[in-house]
């Protein structure tokens, strides 16, 4: 029985996808179709390919699972959850000999993203591990708030992007995920239990590979995931009771949540019969407080911590230029013209693809602080930017080398020889 190749995707991408050798198992695709980028551990065969200037991730998987994960990723995108973007499903594949091949789930390669193995390839220090864990915890809490049960939370199923010295985490593998209206305590607990086991396993593996500082205790780190999650979840959802006279505590709760990167759109406030105590619970909480504010004010799309950093600089700018009373948007516009854009322009074009714009700006701010300290005088932003490009950014290729696995572990980390600009 002859089957028909079916490509479920937007028309433009359908066209591009048509040119790939679908009658061959992914594992046998000739190298010229592939882009060697680092990936995490996976059961399925995953490869990257470049089409029309974009890089795509291809995962070979049985059709019902491909369809399901495709739908799940589309739903997550609709809910604004940080996850890889589903492009399509290719099914009905058949080898020339007639045997049928599994479907392929196609996703957009998440730009600037790093699998944790690549981050760990150079010995990782304790505080970097902490920041990685924090990013993952925020992601899990975000997913749980939207009613998503992950089922297989691990470092391998997460991608990390640099975020102003910290990390932002993205979901990459939704195969076991389920969307519900809300999660039961049991579902949340089980998700965390899986996360805990997986993360400990992944850390122990790094330790065995000699890629983890001896001071890092895999079990301690995995316990930390649970503790931090519980603390964050409490802050996000718990009822808090206090005396009517302490109403300022409502504002403080909101501030704390903003600080954690969440916006409170609605609060549930209940006064008891006697009217002496008030109970408050955040009802609708949206993550991305700072990045949404930055986007609204400036049109710059940045991660949460990058946005926080840029907004701080914007505040400083307002103070220094004595525009504090001015309309926020006007000041923001002036800041983009006077600070943000000149910094990016000061970076030579061939270096701009190495990091995202907001990340470069953040690093330049750090660099300026460091230079000014050293020289004992205030350095201008543009001067700092030029110095940063020459002394720091230009040398980042070294860091790229860490992304290359050795050929001895070809099935765990693909050999990787590509510069960031190739990805643009």
């Amino acid at each position: 029985m002859s089957m028909e190749l079916r490509i479920l995707a937007a028309p433009r991408e359908q066209q591009a996808l048509l040119d790939l050798p679908w009658d061959m198992p992914l594992e046998q695709w000739p190298e010229w179709y592939l882009v060697a980028l680092p990936r995490g551990i996976s059961r399925h065969v995953v490869r990257f390919t470049r089409l029309g200037g974009n890089v795509y991730a291809l995962k070979e998987i049985v059709k019902p699972y491909a369809d399901r994960e495709y739908q799940m990723l589309r739903d997550l995108a609709r809910l604004d959850v940080p996850a890889v973007q589903a492009v399509g499903v290719v099914s009905g594949r058949e080898a020339p000999g007639g045997e049928s091949l599994d479907s392929v789930l196609v996703t957009r390669h998440l730009q600037f993203s790093l699998p944790y193995r690549a981050l760990f390839a150079r010995m990782m220090r304790r505080d970097t591990v902490d920041r990685l864990i924090d990013a993952l915890v925020v992601l899990i809490a975000r997913l749980h708030l939207t009613g998503f049960y992950w089922g297989d939370c691990s470092l391998s199923n997460t991608l990390f992007r640099r975020d102003a010295g910290a990390f932002a985490a993205y979901l990459v593998d939704a195969e076991t995920g389920e969307l519900h209206n809300g999660l039961s305590d049991g579902q949340r607990a089980h998700d965390l239990d899986t996360a805990r086991t997986n993360i400990a396993g992944e850390m122990m593996d790094l330790l065995a590979a000699g890629q983890l500082d001896e001071s890092v205790d895999p079990i301690g780190v995995s316990d930390q995931v649970v503790e931090r999650y519980e603390a964050l979840w409490t802050e996000l959802t718990e009822w808090e009771a206090f005396d009517v006279n302490e109403r300022w505590r409502i504002a403080r709760r909101v501030d704390r949540l903003n600080e954690l990167g969440f916006d409170v759109d609605e609060l549930d406030i209940v006064t008891d019969i006697g009217g002496r105590t008030i109970r408050v619970q955040p009802k609708v909480v949206d993550p991305g407080h700072h990045s949404r504010r930055l986007l609204r004010l400036t049109g710059i799309d940045a991660q949460e911590n990058q946005a926080r950093r840029l907004l701080n600089d914007l505040d400083t700018y307002a103070a220094v230029t004595e525009q504090q009373g001015e309309d926020e948007e006007i000041v923001a516009n002036a800041w983009v013209m006077d600070s943000y854009e000149p910094v990016l322009r000061a970076i030579p074009r061939d270096l701009r693809g190495k990091l995202e714009g907001p990340e470069i700006f953040h690093e330049v701010l750090e660099h300026r602080w460091y230079l000014s300290e050293n020289l004992g005088r205030d350095i201008g932003l543009e001067e700092a930017a030029r110095d940063y490009a020459d002394t720091v950014l230009r040398h980042k290729p070294d860091e790229l080398a860490i992304l290359g696995g050795t050929s001895a572990e070809a099935d765990t980390t693909q050999p990787f020889r590509i510069t960031w600009s190739d990805l643009q």
Binding site: I41, G151, D152, G182, T197, D205, A208, D411, T412
Partner: protein
Amino acid sequence: MATVTFDKATRIYPGTDKPAVDALDLAIEDGEFLVLVGPSGCGKSTSLRMLAGLEEVDGGAIRIGDRDVTHMPPKDRDIAMVFQNYALYPHMTVADNMGFALKIAGVSKDEIRRRVGDAAKLLDLAEYLDRKPKALSGGQRQRVAMGRAIVREPQVFLMDEPLSNLDAKLRVSTRTQIASLQRRLGITTVYVTHDQVEAMTMGDRVAVLNAGLLQQVDSPLGLYDKPSNVFVAGFIGSPAMNIATFDVKDGRATLGNADVAIPASISSKVAAEGSDTVVLGFRPESLLPASAEETGGIPVLVDVVEELGSDAYVYGRPAGPAAEEQADRLRSDQIIARVEPRNAPQKGEKINFTVRPGSEHFFSVKTGERLEP
């Protein structure tokens, strides 16, 4: 090791009023391999998750051994969900891959070594304990993954469609492996699948669910030989049972020219419920080719012949003078019969079938329940 008891366990999802699982009563024995089977949406995953602690229980109770676990967090239940994730870590030895989760749980080194050793023996992995996963075959790697669950020595294993992401061939071989392993381990196991063939080949007993309601629990043979209602009769068996509504008169069940003698007890049970029809079921192997002259036969036009080597199946439709009425009263769109592969008919041929006396299944038209002669 322990028994598992669902005691009128009910789950009503928020925003719905029909229970997804409705007062489930099920007693699973110590060491038993119980399969939950049913069509999509019947509530089998929900039942399993209630046992796992992932889904809240809105009514009734769930017990593991003597412990009431109805409201206990998942990790305190002493259960293991198998195959949810079986990542193997490339730099760790097979032994460490199997035992690391115990380390997290704070189990002592000696105890871990003992459990890993025991599991490895059981899985034929003893000589590979010091190797890395890369040096193993695909099948061996899969056994290491199973080892991860086994060393936890849980009271109950839970598996929800664990084979659904394997291709057909691997699925069949892994099926047998899991079943034989479970028997050697003797750990109580609850296994969910929508595939009744999988259910029948793996389970000590099979529980059939439909629309949130338990239909029947029995051994595979019991379900096959004595389905307790029309749903189970139609669901269990591959190819499926032929089921149609017959008229009951003078000790015979007739449908057009098809005519089957029925026991007096069935006639009186039908009469007792104030009815003059009965649902009659017969499995493909109960149909016998008859000569064209024989009366009471069911003429069938052959659409497809499926040759399986030892057997052949005829898929056809009623073709006699009363074909239209027969097709209307048939629960499926076709009649299926097993025939001798050596004299299998051709597509387009017309054959007369009679039902082997005594092999019929009778069900009440009113309730769908089985009528025992």
